[in-house]
């Protein structure tokens, strides 16, 4: 079904959506020698995109996203090289997140319910097959991938934690806990618990009797000291790989809180973006940077991983310090205590650290000389959710840009951002809002930036507006 109508840049400056009445590429700053244009506007909660080899671009509209309501129709849009836009497929509530193309098939990760899924669509027939359907989900964080390694041709994918900060707590009721009340994290290898439970109010009880909840337990279920929780292949915070048909799944890493962005460089090294712990609630952690992890196990032969690498969640911050270290003590909320006794060896440090709450999302390596900056990692920063998840003034404007990062040196610089400060963007300036994905076109000439649209955060609420998402294109002149 064809959708969308052609418009003009002039009309984009006078839209009926009062949350985003103006879209103006001249308000977006990129380095000299590059230009920005609007390709599609009016997207509803776009979450990811992928190119087919012929230049057709597939865009996911996520349905129930961030926050979970309103849920618009979860679907996969198709923009062909001639500029025609249609609906390739519709999905179920919860909706598509990551997407990739390979050999005539689209592979899509889906959230919704207790289990996330990876499905495969045959492009020619539209036939849909569930490749993986046992990925623990139904909570706070998101699927990562899928994507294919240029090194071994395997499919890689991931999923974040269901708890916000290591223990399922009442704030989950603002996300998915009302729908999935039994949800809890699952470790990727056997762990022994300290028995440090987190006390919180139970919103389902009429009196404020404090309820104890342990790590890897549903809300209201305490852990015992010395209790061993068995690790599972289909764990929370995991990174897996399998053959393209889903066979021979293998867990290669775990302990990554929200692995939404995944990208291979030309050498076949895998990197994953991850979001920091939040400074709020009954297990609050301050000043934990956003980060990019190098997944070393991705270069090892398929089937050879005896023990997956552990990247720290829920006990080690991206600084390498325990989350209860003095540096991470919260100004707001209750300080964290250790959850795992004798934790596995930490697989850090991260190759890049970013300001907390920048909310790094999807990313792509530049693999062409046409655009320039070959070998650099371009990553979207969705932008802060402070004051929701941080009381700090300095966290109010982090993110809202595309960064260009050198994973070898650990240095980065803004590549695309707004002419006006982020706080002014909420008004009628017309620049970028919340970049969620950035991908290079197959010809290597352009960087496409997917902008989720307007999501406003206040002290007690978060509101996201449909029909405010935008697809931008950056081209070297």
């Amino acid at each position: 079904m064809k959708i969308g109508t052609e418009t003009t840049t002039e009309k984009l400056r006078n839209l009926p959506t009062t949350a985003r009445p103006k879209i103006d590429a001249s308000q977006v700053v990129v380095p000299d020698g590059y230009e920005v244009e609007v390709i599609v506007a009016g997207l509803s909660f776009p979450t990811g995109m992928a190119f087919a080899d012929d230049g057709t671009l597939f865009i996911n509209e996520g349905g129930s996203t961030w926050p979970t309501r309103p849920a618009m129709i979860p679907r996969i849009l198709r923009l062909n090289p001639e500029g025609n836009l249609d609906v390739f497929a519709e999905e179920s509530l919860g909706g598509p997140r990551g997407i990739t193309y390979r050999d005539g098939y689209l592979y899509v990760s889906l959230k919704g319910g207790y289990l996330a899924r990876v499905v495969r669509y045959e492009l020619e027939t539209g036939e849909r097959t569930i490749i993986h359907g046992e990925i623990p989900s139904g909570g706070w964080h998101e699927p990562g991938g899928p994507l294919f390694s240029p090194h071994d041709g395997l499919m890689y994918f991931a999923h974040g934690s269901v708890s916000q900060n290591g223990v399922v707590l009442p704030q989950g009721f603002t996300v998915d806990m009302a729908k999935n009340p039994e949800v809890h994290d699952i470790p990727g290898e056997d762990v022994t618990l300290t028995g440090n439970n987190v006390f919180s109010r139970n919103p389902l009880m009429p009196y404020p009797y404090l309820t104890a909840t342990g790590a890897y337990k549903p809300f209201g279920v305490p852990a015992k000291k010395g209790e061993v929780v068995k690790g599972e292949l289909w764990c929370s915070t995991g990174v897996w790989r399998s053959k393209p048909d889903g066979s021979e799944p293998e867990l290669i890493a775990w302990g990554i809180r929200n692995p939404y962005g995944m990208a291979f460089n030309e050498e076949g090294e895998l990197y994953i973006s991850d979001n920091d712990m939040e400074e709020t609630g009954e297990r609050a952690v301050a000043m934990d940077p956003d980060r990019i992890w190098h997944i070393r196990n991705a270069k090892k032969p398929h089937g050879s991983i005896q023990k997956p690498d552990w990247y720290g969640f829920p006990d080690i911050a991206a600084t390498g310090l325990p989350v209860w270290d003095e540096k991470h003590l919260p100004e707001r909320g209750k300080a964290a205590e250790p959850l795992i006794e004798n934790p596995p060896e930490w697989a850090g440090p991260a190759v890049y650290l970013e300001k907390p709450h920048s909310c790094m999302t999807k990313m792509d390596f530049c693999k062409s000389d046409e655009f320039g900056h070959r070998g650099k990692l371009f990553i979207s920063e969705w932008g802060t959710m402070a004051p929701f998840n941080s009381p700090r003034e300095e966290d109010l404007s982090n993110g809202f840009r595309v960064m260009m990062i050198d994973v070898e040196t650990g240095k980065g610089e803004p590549f695309l951002y707004n002419r006006k400060p982020a706080s002014e963007v909420e008004s009628e300036v017309g620049g970028i809002q919340r970049p969620v994905d950035c991908q290079f076109s197959p010809d290597g000439k352009s960087l496409y930036v997917l902008d989720f649209g307007v999501a406003q955060v206040g002290e007690g609420h978060m509101m996201a507006y449909a029909h405010t998402g935008v697809l931008w294109k950056v081209t070297k002149k």
Partner: protein, 184 residues
């Protein structure tokens, strides 16, 4: 990837937009009727309550309900439509709504006094809260921050109403059912 000939918009062209706004307008009409029935019952109930604390609370609720009803006119303005015709129709439909309330009261046999009205007010508040909540979702779904800005504080008030009415109906309900009397 060839460059698109011109930017594409999804759902924001005039025809698509007006179709959606027509549907929002219809919802606002239902919202007006639901809120007006809540306001009317709040006014009636306040007049019957003898107990001073509950009476004061419900009187305040009725005053707020009037303001919330007026705010629905602002919602119409936010989508560029006129509410006057809907207000007239809502007035006509209020009589039918009273019949429905009478039927609901009949279902609550075995209870006495103003508790019945308080219980119904509790249910009507939930109905109105849900209707305003839907108005908020429609605002979010169409990128209309001006709609959301109007509705959000009303929902907050409705939530307070809900907690208060739940507390009072459960607090005094047993006396109404078991002893056939009200608190005076």
């Amino acid at each position: 990837m060839e460059k698109a000939k011109a930017p594409i918009v999804i759902g924001l062209d005039e025809k698509s937009w007006e179709e959606k706004i027509d549907k929002v307008e219809k919802w606002f009409g239902q919202l007006l009727m639901i809120q007006a029935s809540f306001r009317q019952l709040a006014e009636q109930t306040a007049g019957k309550i003898g107990e001073a604390h509950i009476k004061t609370a419900v009187l305040r609720m009725a005053e707020n309900a009037k303001e919330h009803e007026q705010q629905i006119g602002e919602l119409y303005k936010a989508i560029g439509r006129d509410s006057s015709d809907t207000r007239r129709k809502a007035g006509e439909l209020m009589g039918k709504m009273s019949d429905a309330l009478d039927n609901l009261q009949t279902m609550l046999g075995g209870t006495t006094g103003y508790w019945k009205e308080l219980h119904q007010l509790h249910l009507l508040n939930l109905n109105a809260m849900s209707a305003f909540g839907m108005a908020e979702q429609l605002g979010l779904a169409l990128g209309l921050s001006n709609v959301v800005d109007i509705v959000f504080p009303i929902l907050h008030d409705k939530q307070k109403n809900h907690m208060l009415l739940q507390e009072y109906t459960l607090e005094i309900g047993a006396v109404s059912v078991l002893y056939d009397r009200d608190f005076d």
